[in-house]
Symmetry: C2
Subunit: 191 residues, 2 copies
DNA sequence: AAAGAATGTCTAGCACTGCTAGGATCGGCT
DNA sequence: AGCCGATCCTAGCAGTGCTAGACATTCTTT
C-alpha cells in the first residue's frame, strides 16, 4: 500500500519533469509558438488534461521551463565569474556568459524574460536560482560599493536590452564584444 | 468618375487610420491580448475581412500602431534634447524622456519593441521615424566620438532593458532616476 | 436606358488555440 | 466478490487569426 503509493508519486514526479523537458525541447526546436498543449500532450504520450493536473495552465509550464533556465544560467554565470583570473575581469566574463546564454538558448531565454509566466521577481518568494543569477553580478562588484545592487540592475538591464534588441534585429547582430567592453568600461569608470 | 474615385480613396484612407487608432485605443485601454480581429472589426463597424483588405494580418496592424508610436517617441525625444540647457545634460533628458514614454504608454511601447511586427530595423528600408529615434541618442554625443553609434546602441539597450524589466516586475519599479544617473555617468566617463 | 463588368462587403466557415466537464477504466481495500 | 476512489481520456466549449464564396452595389459600355 505504501509502496505502491510511493511508486505512484515517483512516476508522477517523473511525468512532471517529462512535461517540462518536452516543452523545452519543442520550444528549442521549433519556437514557443509551436508549443501547444496538444502537441505537448502527444509528445508525453498522455492526453491533454493530464497537463492540467500537473500545472495550472500553459503559463505555469513555461514558468517551470524558465526556472530550469535560471538554474542553468546561474551555473554558467558562476563558472564564468570564478574562472576569471582577477576580479576586475570577472564582470566582463559574467557579462559575456550572459549574452552567450541568451544567444545560444533563445527559447529558454524567452521563457525566462519575455513570455508571460507566473514567476515572482524581486519579492520575498523569489525562487533561489533567480536570486542567484542576480547575485553573480553583484558579486563582481567591490564590496565597499554600497550601491552594488543598483549597478547590478543597470548592468543586467543593459545586457537584457542588448540580447533582445539584437535577437529581434533591432540592432545589428555584430559587435556584441564591443558593446560588452563599453558597458564594463562605463561601470568601472562610473563607480 | 474621377471625383468619386478620389472620394473613395479618401474614405478608404480614413478607414485605414480608423483601424489603427481603434487598435491603439483598445490596446491602451485593455492590453494587447484584448485586441482581436473581431473586436477590432466591431469597433470600426465593419466586418472582419475588411481588416485584411487594409493590412496583411494582425501583425501588420500592430506594426502600423508601432510606427505611429515611433513618430511620437521621436517627437518626445527631440523635444527633450532641445530643451536641455547644455549638451552635457541633453543625454540625461533624452534618457528620462525615453523611460517616461515607456512607462506612460506601455501598450504602445509593447507594440514597438516586444510584440511581433513586420517592421524592419537596422536595414536600408528602416522607416524614418525609427531612425529618427535612434539619432536623437546619437546627437547627444560629441561629434568627434567616432564610436557614437556604438554608444547609442548600448544606451538604448540599457534603457530598453530597464523599461521592460521594471514593467514586468523583474526589477523594482522605484529608483528609475538613480538608474538613469548611473547610466549617463558611465557613458560620460567611459567615453 | 439596359446589360455587363468590376468593385466592395458580408456571411459562414476552417483549422487552430487553451481549457474543462463528464464518463469510463483500473487500481487497491474491506 | 464487490465496492470505492483515484486516474485518465473522449468530447466539447468558447475563443483565436484568417479566407472562400455568395451577395450587392457601383461603374462602364453598348
Amino acid at each position: 500500500m505504501s509502496a505502491t503509493r510511493e511508486r505512484r508519486e515517483r512516476e508522477r514526479a517523473q511525468r512532471h519533469q517529462m512535461i517540462i523537458t518536452a516543452a523545452r525541447e519543442l520550444a528549442e526546436a521549433e519556437g514557443w509558438e509551436a508549443v501547444t498543449t496538444r502537441r505537448l500532450a502527444e509528445r508525453v504520450e498522455y492526453s491533454q488534461p493530464v497537463l492540467y493536473s500537473h500545472f495550472n495552465g500553459k503559463d505555469a509550464i513555461v514558468g517551470a521551463v524558465a526556472l530550469d533556465g535560471f538554474v542553468e544560467m546561474a551555473g554558467d554565470l558562476g563558472r564564468a565569474r570564478r574562472s576569471a583570473p582577477e576580479p576586475a575581469r570577472a564582470l566582463r566574463a559574467v557579462c559575456a556568459a550572459y549574452l552567450r546564454f541568451a544567444t545560444e538558448r533563445p527559447a529558454l531565454y524567452q521563457a525566462m524574460f519575455i513570455l508571460p509566466t507566473n514567476l515572482k521577481f524581486a519579492s520575498v518568494d523569489t525562487p533561489a536560482p533567480l536570486r542567484a543569477c542576480f547575485d553573480e553580478f553583484v558579486n563582481c562588484l567591490r564590496p565597499d560599493n554600497e550601491r552594488r545592487e543598483l549597478f547590478a540592475e543597470v548592468i543586467w538591464s543593459a545586457l537584457h536590452g542588448i540580447a533582445v534588441l539584437s535577437e529581434s534585429g533591432r540592432i545589428p547582430p555584430a559587435g556584441q564584444e564591443e558593446r560588452i567592453d563599453l558597458l564594463v568600461a562605463g561601470v568601472a569608470a562610473g563607480g
